[in-house]
């Protein structure tokens, strides 16, 4: 066991963890932040994407110990201060960017990383940035549309089907 301290969604947390504890298990089991999902556990699907020091990472492919001293952001910290959905979350709702919602936490965190790097991405740039996020329901179209809308771009031109 080793002690780790990190800022999770702005709050400092300290706990003892085993070497083998993945960041995603630390978040879900130790902190009970179960919004971060485990889809594949083999680094393929992106359901577990969180931000570590502002960068998107797959939390199933990083050890909790490696996040010692880091700032971690998860889906639970994304809403506005008054509890309303943030721009990206609201756009997912408005544009029907989710069906079962399993992939959605990872999609929203990946979208947030994209818009920070590239505030007005083209449709092709959105699709390429989502390469590591798999959705088994939506066919991606409305996810792409939601992210374009969240960036303040007119999405009327993107056909509905």
């Amino acid at each position: 066991m080793a002690s780790v301290t990190m800022q999770v969604n702005g709050k400092s947390v300290s706990k003892d963890v085993e070497g083998r504890t993945l960041l995603v298990d630390f978040l879900r089991n130790d902190l009970r932040l179960t919004g971060t999902h485990v889809g594949c556990d083999t680094s393929q699907c992106g359901a577990c994407v969180v931000h570590v020091n502002g960068q998107s990472v797959k939390a199933c492919a990083m050890f909790a110990i490696e996040a010692d001293g880091a700032e971690v952001a998860t889906i639970e910290g994304q809403a506005n201060a008054d509890g309303s959905l943030n721009v990206i979350q609201q756009a997912f709702q408005d544009h029907h960017g989710l069906q079962c919602g399993f992939c959605t936490p990872g999609m929203v965190m990946t979208a947030a990383a994209l818009l920070k790097e590239n505030p007005k991405p083209s449709e092709a740039e959105v699709r390429s940035y989502l390469e590591g996020n798999i959705c088994r329901c939506t066919g991606y179209h409305n996810i792409v549309k939601a992210i374009m809308a969240a960036s303040g771009q007119d999405v009327a031109a993107i056909a509905a089907e």
Partner: protein
């Protein structure tokens, strides 16, 4: 996962010392090693994390004009910081896996692993890079020794990679869409004194140089120079994604496209 410890040294010296213990293994970005541990394809007792070692981080130019990259530098950082001096390498790094993989995976981990479909081995061999370890310098031509096999000794770590910067270069990758690795990838680099062509994803021997293409392109750096050449299907990988004949064909097509794009 089974139980193991993780140590996080802050210097190369401490990491090398820690790696001398029985059952110790280096941990880079973990993008290959963590899935490997989950599948129990490896079972080290202690992982020595290299991510906290600042002397293994970053991109810079040497006095001789080579691009030096610390082995712990992530693909995302290479994509950003190599762009001005060596755009061909930056573009390669920016197409490895997906953004989250690029934020963790490191150049040292990729070269140490030497996956037969990985991208960086093509750049290292295609530029004649030097792989620098905690104890020696290894020329890329001597470093790659077949699928998942390298010249590294037990406990030896890559600390830096030095790339001679070409006049022109390009990496052309035919993506295997499920894994996002290369079905076939070709790195072409043109220098004042010759051309190098390195191929990944295709051969059962791992990354290799296509010497006939190098000779033809040295005379005239134009995709047309490849017209008369062919690649034998013998020794190429055959799997559900493509037959040996298909991969052999792709080697020539991707080389031509890389030359045109360089």
């Amino acid at each position: 996962m089974y139980a193991f410890d993780i140590e996080r040294p802050s210097s190369i010296k401490d990491a090398v010392a820690a790696l001398q213990s029985e059952g110790a293994q280096a941990l880079g970005g973990g993008q290959t090693l963590i899935p490997t541990l989950k599948a129990r394809l490896a079972a080290p007792e202690v992982l020595i994390s290299l991510t906290g070692i600042s002397e293994m981080q970053g991109v810079c130019l040497s006095d001789e004009g080579a691009l030096c990259i610390g082995a712990g530098t992530t693909h995302a950082t290479v994509a950003r910081e190599a762009a001005v001096h060596f755009p061909g390498l930056a573009a390669l790094a920016s197409h490895i896996g997906d953004p989250a993989v690029r934020n963790r995976g490191t150049i040292g981990g990729s070269l140490a692993n030497n996956d037969p479909a990985a991208c960086y081995p093509a750049a290292a061999l295609g530029t004649g890079a030097t792989i620098i370890t905690d104890k020696r310098k290894i020329a890329a031509d001597d470093y790659f020794q077949g699928m998942f096999t390298t010249a590294l000794d037990e406990g030896e770590i890559i600390t830096e990679v030095r790339f001679p910067i070409p006049e022109k270069s390009h990496y052309m990758k035919f993506v295997q869409p499920a894994s996002r690795f290369a079905l076939v990838g070709v790195f072409v680099a043109k220098y004042a004194d010759g051309v190098r062509v390195a191929v990944t994803g295709a051969s059962e021997e791992g990354v290799f140089r296509w010497h006939d293409a190098e000779t033809a392109l040295a005379d005239d750096f134009n995709a047309r120079s490849l017209d008369g050449l062919s690649v034998a299907a013998d020794g190429m990988i055959g799997d559900l994604h493509g037959s040996p004949e298909y991969r052999a064909h792709l080697v020539k097509v991707m080389t031509g496209r890389a030359v045109t794009a360089a």
